[in-house]
Symmetry: C2
């Protein structure tokens, strides 16, 4: 399908508004319980860098801090190159609504060159292929859930919130955009947030949650993303710790031929 007509591309579309400034807007297709899905906010803030005329290289690291709820409607993004070196470029980004900052971000781009390379971690072995698994259907879930084809091997959304505390919150799943869309850096940045809150899995009770800060490291280069195309990626997620209002989540996103595309770490506010 032609990506210009894909809801993801519509959701991250930005209109230049002068040097370093862009205007964007929330998209119903990526709505969350309140305001937009965090992943789409990551994607649009990265997009402001990727679309910038001074951009040099591809993403290596992205940190997005969710400073305040984003209201449905328009927002302004300022993306500023903080430092450009020979092979790396550092950016600071802010998203604001009515002149109040709602999210801050930093991004690092780089021009890679071929060096000795080696994986150290591996994806889960014995994952059944995505085609053999049923797509998760969550009636009543926020819109963004339907923007992903989610196929869980372990650690999907609990079917009932029965309060039976679980020993762990691990997830293993196949994920892709729905409708299918060739993977790129912006959609990978969005996908890194496509896991249900670990506390739901661990406690099987509802809690108010909100990601506070999310960092994604991009291990893939553009060629690897082109090779992955629009097929499902293999994802894992887990928490280390839940403590007095904040828990962490680490996720890995693997190609379907077992190469690490991205690793992502977030800290999430929760309230009972």
């Amino acid at each position: 399908m032609h990506t210009d007509s894909h809801p993801f591309d519509a959701a991250i579309r930005l209109v230049p508004e002068g040097e370093n400034r862009y205007r964007g807007g929330t998209a119903a297709a990526y709505g969350n319980m309140v305001g937009p899905y965090g992943g789409i906010t990551c994607a649009v803030m990265l997009q402001a860098v990727l679309a910038h005329p001074q951009r040099q290289g591809d993403p290596i690291a992205l940190t997005v801090n969710f400073a305040a709820p984003i209201a449905d409607g328009v927002f302004d993004i300022e993306a500023r190159p903080a430092r450009t070196n020979r092979s790396t470029q550092h950016w600071t980004v802010q998203l604001s609504q009515q002149d109040a900052i709602a999210a801050t971000a930093t991004a690092v781009l780089a021009t890679r060159r071929e060096t000795w390379s080696a994986p150290e971690a591996a994806p889960p072995s014995q994952m059944p292929p995505a085609s053999t698994l049923e797509r998760t259907s969550l009636p009543g879930a926020p819109a963004w859930v339907r923007a992903y084809d989610l196929r869980f091997v372990e650690g999907g959304m609990p079917t009932s919130f029965d309060g039976r505390e679980q020993p762990h919150s691990r997830t293993e799943a196949w994920v892709r955009d729905d409708p299918p869309r060739p993977l790129d850096f912006a959609s990978l940045a969005a996908l890194a947030d496509s896991f249900f809150p670990r506390i739901f899995l661990r406690r099987r009770t509802f809690a108010l949650v909100g990601t506070v800060s999310l960092t994604t490291f991009f291990h893939a280069d553009a060629t690897m993303l082109v090779e992955q195309a629009d097929r499902h990626v293999l994802c894992t997620a887990r928490a280390l710790n839940f403590r007095n209002g904040f828990f962490d989540q680490s996720a890995e996103i693997w190609s379907d031929d077992a190469r690490l595309l991205a690793s992502s770490h977030q800290i999430v506010y929760y309230r009972e």
Copy 2:
């Protein structure tokens, strides 16, 4: 010992220079191969937030992006509250020398309250106590290495760079400031970078390396840090992937009674 006289406190000392602005300087005790140890840069950028009159709460997340080498000498830090909510506060921070940005950072502070809490990960079992291990001595290493009492159970600096590639780069170690100093948020932020580059462990060859972006999540509150005092903390570090000039490192820092104090993730540039 009185912390005012500790080299760490001297290294993160800042002089206010008007609203949101501070002047600091590099410290020989925390020197690296070139310029300062990355951990001390994290600490001093966090310190600008902690010392700010508008500070509200304790650190939850800190991301520091190393945009350019920092020259020995003075630097300027600008720390700006981007958004203050009821229980969280978001900061953007920049470190510059001669008006060129050398590092950018974001920090999130929060006021925690007691909620359901539970660990999910655990520290390595069967770690011998720090007191039974020998302190690592690395003659000729950069100054910062001597600022830490490092006791490795696994994954210390290779004793020879013999080029024998290892199957993994995992580290397990006890670490504390030397001289001993009661742990606080700034020293925890510094300590999160006190691991040798994973590529040295994995390849046993020398490479030029530099942290590009480092994110630390603080699971401890101030009380837990006071309880840990100046005893050794238990640390683990590992990489997921080394690819075309960048590798990642995830580290965990545990109290000596097995509570997670911080988890930290960085991406590092390398060149053969």
